[in-house]
Symmetry: C3
Subunit: 314 residues, 3 copies
Amino acid sequence: MSNNFSLGPKLETLATALEDSYFAYRRIHHINTVHLPARDEVYEITRRLFALIFPGFFGRQDLTSKNIHQYLTTEMDGISQQMYQLIYQCFRCRSKNDPASDHKMASQATERFFGELAHTRELMANDVLASYKGDPAAQDTDEVIFSYPATIAIGTYRLAHTIWKMAVPLMPRIMTEHAHSQTGIDIHPGAQIGKGFFIDHGTGVVIGETAIIGDNCKLYQGVTLGAVSLPYDETGLIKRNYKRHPTLEDDVVVYSNATILGNVTIGKGSTVGGGVFLTQSVPPGCTVSTRPAELRYRNRCVVLGGGRVFDYWI
Amino acid sequence: MSNNFSLGPKLETLATALEDSYFAYRRIHHINTVHLPARDEVYEITRRLFALIFPGFFGRQDLTSKNIHQYLTTEMDGISQQMYQLIYQCFRCRSKNDPASDHKMASQATERFFGELAHTRELMANDVLASYKGDPAAQDTDEVIFSYPATIAIGTYRLAHTIWKMAVPLMPRIMTEHAHSQTGIDIHPGAQIGKGFFIDHGTGVVIGETAIIGDNCKLYQGVTLGAVSLPYDETGLIKRNYKRHPTLEDDVVVYSNATILGNVTIGKGSTVGGGVFLTQSVPPGCTVSTRPAELRYRNRCVVLGGGRVFDYWI
Amino acid sequence: MSNNFSLGPKLETLATALEDSYFAYRRIHHINTVHLPARDEVYEITRRLFALIFPGFFGRQDLTSKNIHQYLTTEMDGISQQMYQLIYQCFRCRSKNDPASDHKMASQATERFFGELAHTRELMANDVLASYKGDPAAQDTDEVIFSYPATIAIGTYRLAHTIWKMAVPLMPRIMTEHAHSQTGIDIHPGAQIGKGFFIDHGTGVVIGETAIIGDNCKLYQGVTLGAVSLPYDETGLIKRNYKRHPTLEDDVVVYSNATILGNVTIGKGSTVGGGVFLTQSVPPGCTVSTRPAELRYRNRCVVLGGGRVFDYWI
């Protein structure tokens, strides 16, 4: 027995079997089609945009008042070209138009994105300040920018939402799912979120496509803003594209692991307590909480005699 | 004070202290042993397999009917050789056999893996279609493949489970834990899962080693399929290797943050509601839900007077 | 329409708008300041330390009794120099001292870190053994080191806590948030944790800054050790730096998705059941559980007639 290996004559048969399977499931291959955008390129652009938004934190470190303008124009020029190519591919891989139309749409989308960038940055700056103000463990805004999952998740959402508004396919969702992978915070790029948003810890947070969140809201880990029930259209497919997620008005706080489902409204300044399961609207200025579950205390030796019902593992 | 640093004469003492600690805890070093498999190699093979499964999405983009066969045979040949070396190391680092036996086992395992690959791909294709059908926010299958955590977590599980069945040590768990790290979805490679499986959002999902899941099941974020109680064997160690996790029959849906524990069966077509905590079996065709907790509504100003019991942060 | 793109004459205006936004939000840029530490450098040092702690697993694989001492001294020397430079930058970017004082502080911190390293490793070794003993699915300690999220999250916390104790800014939190990103386990570097700690699965776990955990404790996925209520100081800012998180005495087990809030104490040997929401202390030797919620069982066809209240998706 040597330590070399070969599939030998089987290779041909096995390759053919896999090839047949490609063409049996046409929807999950991209052979003989226009090229898909490269996912790594989306990640790279997001990374470059974060460096542009938070100068001195990521990327080049020696920025001064003297070199900043030159740095900025060079970077914006480079990123905009890379982004334009990618957005073109996103449009193109779904398009029935001629390439020239798609080039034009890509050009307009890229210009609009950069036209809004200073405003997007203002939103991201406000989110960072909201994180600092909202968390007693935060030592300063440097720490928030360098290490808070909220900075990655909300910031990526801000950038992706701008692209989502221009109906660019694929790219916005790839961006937010990359942030989801890094942070455990799943914000759909279609959600609408006001100024000064903060999510503390964040693992397990889900914010659905048609959720609307006002200014100065705060969520904790494990909060779901989801949808209720599953309506089907006449053809038996699930219905898409209607308002099915909650609206939070300004200054709402939702504590950890609360679940809010459906097109309900949580009024201005209201607070939803930890673990609350809510499928109805709440007026402004309210605190909603669950009547605490009755706790059972048992002495261990008694429990050992009678079977340890709540001792479990996975 | 210069900006150079050295531990100076202490270096020798400190290195000796650490060296002593290596040999004090023999189970957590690999010095003087056969080489462990390299973890990065496992990640790399998983990445290459995904490119093979979803052609045109990851890896090479210019695939056509003309070049696909050549691409496939070259890639399969390359991946199979890399995989064989790695599987050999996995067997070898635990083995008491001669190297030749381990080479033979590695060779058989690699051949069997590639023999099943077209079938494994069929399962992964069905999972992608199930994701698309099951989520109203999904725009098409391209989006599902490019950005859904389910694609990474379930797909990696499918590949790892095939390797797990051949009793290859270390590799399957390293694969699924890498997917866990990327997605927050923790599927043990030993679980048995039927066709058309979908997990939406997914952060916090845990599926234990002896769980069995039928066809066309769907889970949401935060669902645990775990085990109850902690039996010890005669020697005082926890018992391993017995059926301790739930069975879901076909067409079962489990909503977010539900916990199902123990060797219980959820019957065909049943639905388990959000947040349900279940340690008993459910007959087919049932909907199980928790009686909604009684909610308390308080006006904020009243609350401020009486102490804000449910205002907490972390 | 060509496939080239340029922002053209708008580039200048857009760059100026972004530049203005930098100086409008002074707290979130680092222009004209001392250089911030590079975040990737923190990740790199953590990676090198893990290789030093678990020889043969990560990094070099051919270690033997003969070459181990040379390897160790070379690595310790290299890592300590890299760490010294980084710690200096961490002190420097917040400092009002002269550079020489910061160099001295960095030197002392680095020496102290390496002086404690053998002890830190002992703690990490005990954690690995606790993982193996506590999980029936663990095949051996190799698997625990290679693939358990607990190894990354708790190990990184151990290293970061040592640095936290020396009041090094930024670095400890960057380390633990990197582990949070990889594992979904969020342990603040300021927490105090005893020997033999294990977290199974772990996604969604949050352990706050002032939590204290005794020896041989075990947590499951989704457990929060958080703080209650949000006191403000005289100036209207939230209060920082006081004991606001729970204390777990030795041998405490907390099952999945339980939430414990505030400066309460869970007594030695007590068990907190899955999903329990607790804001009060528990005496030693107790088992605390929630009275199971009343479940409702409905046949699906009946439900379809009356509206499917608990069928929801996100």
